[in-house]
Amino acid sequence: MDKLFHLWVYLETTPLLGLAATLVVYRFAVMASRAAGGHILANPVLLSIGTLVLLLLATGTPYAAYFQGAQYIHFLLGPATVALALPMYSNLARIRRSAGAILPAILAGSATASLSAMLIARALGAPREVVVSVAVKSVTTPIAMGIAEQIGGDPSLAAAFVLITGVSAILLAGPSLWLAGIRDPRARGLAGGTAGHGLVTAHMLLTSETAGAFGGLAIGLNGLITAIIVPLLATLVVR
């Protein structure tokens, strides 16, 4: 028993534990998702995050200790974002041909999402920091944290909202786009990337390279547009 305790204390101080836990949990989540026939609630990201959060709470492990190991996986997000240039390159002719539609679509979607999020949160009595932080929920984490800080929100709260939004968008994208009669892979990808950033783009990339390419484009453009319009919208909603 004593030996086991010492082993645990040692493992807790190495990055190996967080790294191994993330990979093993994700591997099982992918298996579970396949076993569930790809049911949307059995999404690997949703299952992995849920399981790891429960594990951290059950063992009383602080997030910082977990992240010490998990950061090696997190770091690969940078090179993977750069790698989105390849599906975009394959779809460049398509992107050029619909260039005139892309900016109005992202602008409309971005403004709708930010404004409705702030107004609903305010109407339901959320405190100011929540109302302001929820405005940036649709953009990729580093941009969201930067804008949240600038407009008086809480960066780490914004990061949590970005995640909740991504997971919601994975669950909502299929049924809502289907209901609205949106079948065009360009429109689906752009909608996913604008409303649900990289999480939805990663999900869509598995079934359509075109949707993935437009998703990747939307992540970048929506980040830029949101950084410009959200500070203005926030001053209208919160004073």
Binding site: Y63, T81, S98, A105, S114, A117, I120, A159, S168, A187
Partner: protein, 119 residues
């Protein structure tokens, strides 16, 4: 794989330097993505060459597990359970409804403005 990974990291590095230097509100990796895309376009224009097979396979490998890479940051929600729990209803309704609206509005405008023959 080594060359491709080096190229991806160098693009990210250059993107980071450019974004900080100009003070762009865009993350370095997104600028890096634009740089790599520009590089691939120039290569095609002056060399007539497609992206190297090695780069395609490394990028494909990274992108096929893109979801995994979001897990560590996602688990960070554990640090905000208090605030989220206290405001569960406003947060849940605001996020679900606004995400639905964002998806449908973006998709609808895009589908209306783009022509089917351009696909």
């Amino acid at each position: 794989m080594l060359n491709a990974l080096t190229l991806l990291v160098l693009c990210q590095f250059a993107g980071e330097v450019i974004a900080r230097f100009i003070g762009l509100p865009i993350p370095g990796p997104v600028v890096g993505m634009v740089l790599l895309l520009a590089g691939l376009v120039l290569r095609e224009r002056y060399n007539g060459a497609a992206p190297p097979a090695e780069l395609r396979s490394t990028a494909g490998g990274l992108l096929s597990h893109l979801s995994l890479l979001f897990v560590p940051a996602g688990v960070g929600v554990v640090t905000q359970l208090g605030v989220v729990g206290r405001n569960l209803l406003p947060i849940a309704v605001a996020i679900v409804v606004s995400t639905f609206l964002g998806l449908v509005v973006t998709g609808w405008v895009m589908q209306r403005l783009s022509r089917a023959e351009d696909l």
